[in-house]
């Protein structure tokens, strides 16, 4: 069964839609699908260690793979030391890799 790659580009402190993406990830996981969340552009602002992020913490606790675009992190001055646990910096090629494996990719 192909998995779902949810791509979140919005700042969660600006867009309530980001929380809906996190929620969708959790629900897809609960339905038995493979799920990964890829954060890009302002979507990576949620992974700063000092940020309030209750919704993203729920995703991480569900053991969904959470990736953050390395380029977006560098642009915003977020180092690996400044990131929360449970999130991995990854190249944008990670999206292509999942797509070529037949995963469904959804952008928000």
């Amino acid at each position: 069964m192909p998995g779902y790659l949810l791509i979140e580009s919005r700042d969660p402190f600006e867009s309530a839609g980001a929380a809906r993406t996190y929620e969708l990830a959790i629900q897809l996981r609960a339905a038995g699908h493979d799920v990964a969340l890829f954060l890009v552009q302002n979507g990576v602002l949620a992974v700063r260690s000092g940020a309030r992020r209750a919704e993203l913490d729920k995703v991480i606790r569900t053991q969904i793979e959470v990736l953050a675009d390395d380029f977006s992190l560098r642009e915003r001055g977020i180092s690996s030391a400044g990131m929360i646990g449970g999130v991995r910096a990854a190249p944008i090629d990670s999206i292509v890799e999942r797509m070529t494996s037949g995963w469904n990719a959804l952008w928000h």
Binding site: S9, N42, I95, G102
Partner: protein, 137 residues
């Protein structure tokens, strides 16, 4: 023997507006790097990404002329992606929605960009292992 995949990307943003355009181009580059054949269906404002009459401008505030400013133009990025596809032995098939082109008067495109319809988008998706739609807000 590795399988050659085809991916489709559907773009909606007009040039010079959103970080989504830069991210989309990064994705196209990554897909071509993997040797994938890539389809792009551009609709709404994204049909202007390949408009041939884009011109870089000077920056009077910083005292730079047009050459020094070297303003990035999306038509040049697309041409570079097409050259990259050629080097990688991959296809970059770029189609603009014709209705969207006519609305905006951007029918003069760079080479190898063709005019199509939403039916092309459907065919591209049918031929691809995966399709990613990158919409505006």
């Amino acid at each position: 023997m590795t399988t050659k995949h085809t991916l489709t990307f559907v773009l909606m943003d007009a040039p010079f507006e959103s970080a989504r355009t830069t991210t989309a181009f990064r994705l196209l580059h990554a897909a071509l790097d993997r040797g994938c054949d890539v389809n792009v269906f551009a609709y709404e404002g994204a049909v202007a990404l390949s408009f041939a009459k884009q011109v870089g401008h000077a920056n009077a505030v910083h005292g730079r002329d047009a050459a020094q400013e070297d303003h990035p133009l999306t038509k040049n990025w697309i041409a570079a992606l097409m050259a990259h596809a050629h080097e990688r032995g991959a296809d970059l098939n770029w189609v603009n929605c014709g209705l969207c082109v006519d609305e905006r008067g951007v029918g003069e495109t760079i080479e190898n960009v063709r005019r199509g319809s939403p039916a092309d988008c459907w065919k591209m998706a049918q031929q691809s292992i995966a399709t990613l739609v990158i919409p505006t807000k």
